[in-house]
């Protein structure tokens, strides 16, 4: 089931995570009453999740977490859901709260409408990798994700993750990112391929034989930029930086594909055989 590790790639120690649930929402340009979502977990979202697991309050330095590299495998891309949320219905406009711009809403009804975008039915597998110096940090993160300081959520508090979040740690995390069971039952993903996204070049992915099609991008060069590198989560000085985005598609015919309980059992078998579980998890 697990092909030998290709010798060309350099193993990077890391954590393997699973971000899946009926709803997720990874805000990108959220502004007041329009809350959007990116198509996959953002670096700021995942680093925020790690900080919450460690119990770091907003405004605490993030440099160590920001050093880590994030590679996302898109098991199921999901679909966009736009949810309408109302606040304070039934009041005339002048009696409602002031908007964040300091103005009043126009119109006869003062109900505040806020639109929140979610990613429904999506599932992602993540490798969070670091250099040799980051091993301590990765061990601490594994323990924290296993027993987090605050309940973790997928971008919004109403979106709890389903099932296991931390799958385990590995010396060669990217190898397992390619081979872990896929949370999908869509056989079509064998033809169209499975998407990978990262903040580092993706020619470092250990590619199983025949998984990369001739002429397809090898992920060596950035495909674009995204503005999701958190500089600070301080409530009043929240800021982000732009970073490069690398993309790659692999065709993974040998990887187990299933949903629900079948997927969970396949994951369990894989993790048990190949991944290290955090210390103290077998109480």
């Amino acid at each position: 089931m697990t092909p030998a590790t290709p010798s060309k790639t350099v193993p990077e120690p890391g954590l393997l995570l699973r971000l899946a649930g009926p709803l997720q929402s990874w805000g990108e340009h959220s502004h007041f009453n329009e809350r959007d979502t990116a198509a996959c977990p953002t670096r700021s979202g995942v680093i925020g999740l790690l900080a919450a697991a460690l119990g770091r309050r907003r405004g605490t330095p993030l440099e160590d977490l920001a050093r880590l590299s994030l590679t996302v495998r898109v098991d199921r891309p999901g679909v966009l859901l736009r949810d309408l949320h109302t606040v304070g219905g039934g009041l005339p406009s002048k009696a409602t709260v002031t908007t964040a711009e300091g103005k009043k809403r126009s119109g006869d009804t003062g109900t505040l409408l806020t639109h929140r975008a979610y990613l429904a039915d999506a599932a992602f597998t993540l490798a969070l990798t670091g250099g040799p110096d980051d091993k301590d940090l990765l061990v601490r993160l594994a323990a924290a994700l296993d027993s987090p300081r605050w309940p973790l959520f997928l971008g919004r508090r109403s979106c709890p993750p389903e099932g296991p979040l931390l799958l385990g740690t590995a010396e060669h995390a990217l190898h397992h990112l390619v081979h872990l069971p896929l949370a999908t039952d869509q056989k079509g993903s064998m033809d169209t391929g499975v998407g990978f996204l990262s903040d580092r070049p993706l020619d470092r992915l250990p590619v199983p034989e025949g998984a990369a099609n001739e002429g397809e991008e090898n992920g060596k060069h950035p495909s674009g930029k995204v503005n999701d590198e958190p500089v600070s989560f301080h409530p009043r000085h929240r800021s982000y930086r732009t970073r490069a985005l690398y993309r790659r598609t692999l065709h993974l015919p040998d990887v187990h594909r299933a949903l629900g309980i079948d997927h969970l059992e396949a994951l369990g078998a894989y993790a048990c055989e190949h991944l290290n579980r955090p210390e103290g998890s077998r109480r």
Binding site: T98, P151, D185, L267
Partner: protein
Amino acid sequence: MSVPARFIDIHILQSVPYANLNRDDTNSVKTVQYGNVLRTRVSSQCWKRAVRDRFEELIGQAALRTRRIGERTAHELGERGWPQHLAQRSGAHIAAASSIKFELAKDDAKQPVPNKVLTNAMVYVPQAAVAELADIAEQHREKLEAAKDIKKPADKSVLPKDAVEAVLRSRNGVINLFGRMLAEVDDAGVDGAVQVAHALTTHKTDIELDYFSAVDDITNAWNDATGSGHMGHAEYSAGTFYRYATVDLRDLAANIGDEPTAARELITSCLASFIESLPQAKKNSTAPHTIPDLVHISVRTDRPLSFAAAFEKPVRANADGGFTEISCTQLATYAEAANKLLGSGRILTSGWAGLATKDLTGLGKRRESFEDLVTSALDAALGQDSNEAA
């Protein structure tokens, strides 16, 4: 050494007949795609409001969310026998005393009304705060008698900001459990201790379109014309929902302090409210007042764990129809697999209660009633003798 309890997870399966508990902006039933099929959804915000209403009733405490705290305090002072004008001015000075910016309500001619202050942010305070704010006014009555009316947003209050903000910072059980966002007053924010997920059906659902026409009784009696008085359509859906919420015991302790008895009362009422509540939208049209088919509670030492993925593969009704039984079995199977993967030593206790006749081993010990289930979970989480729990 005992392992500290951290999270109380509650999972509910509940069948709701033909209803529309939560509408979107087109009056349609809210939905979500999951496992490649469309399900009916009730948003977490919607169900949480139903829970909070019931919770306030159970613990006998209410909280006020309002911009009109000044007017409300003026009303209280009026009831204490203050002359009307002084009461109104005092209420305005109360509302103007905090760091929250304010404006004045306008009359029909769009002219600002003196002393009718609206705070720009909604305050969220225990009901008792009104009396406490009125007490502050009483203590400074002489100052207020000599003060000017509040006529514009730049006017300053003669009352001490510290005392007023201390009241705005005060909490009760509702705020300690569900949290509060109030950025304008330092340290008034409270992180809620309850996390509620969107509820969704365990299976594929269809939206049913109900066309209706209403009879005009006079036309009907006289029979002198044809046609109905009114017609339209409404949308409904039926299904078995999976509902999930978790209470973080450490966050609650951070909010209320080391008070096992108080924690026990709040969590008991919160779980009971989650079990008993149902959003009330269109209740007179459909009366969908069901109770849960199954409630499963586990007390975990590690992390909260949603079992939504038990239904990622949508359940299908068997030949006789019905989603409830198969949903219960599926939940138990998934719980067993997930707990095996994570290590079952992280569960302090788990149990279930419900209408099922079958044994559901994966969900722990069967309890007689929802009340027994909640009690046994809290006994394990907080210790039977609340003095020992510390």
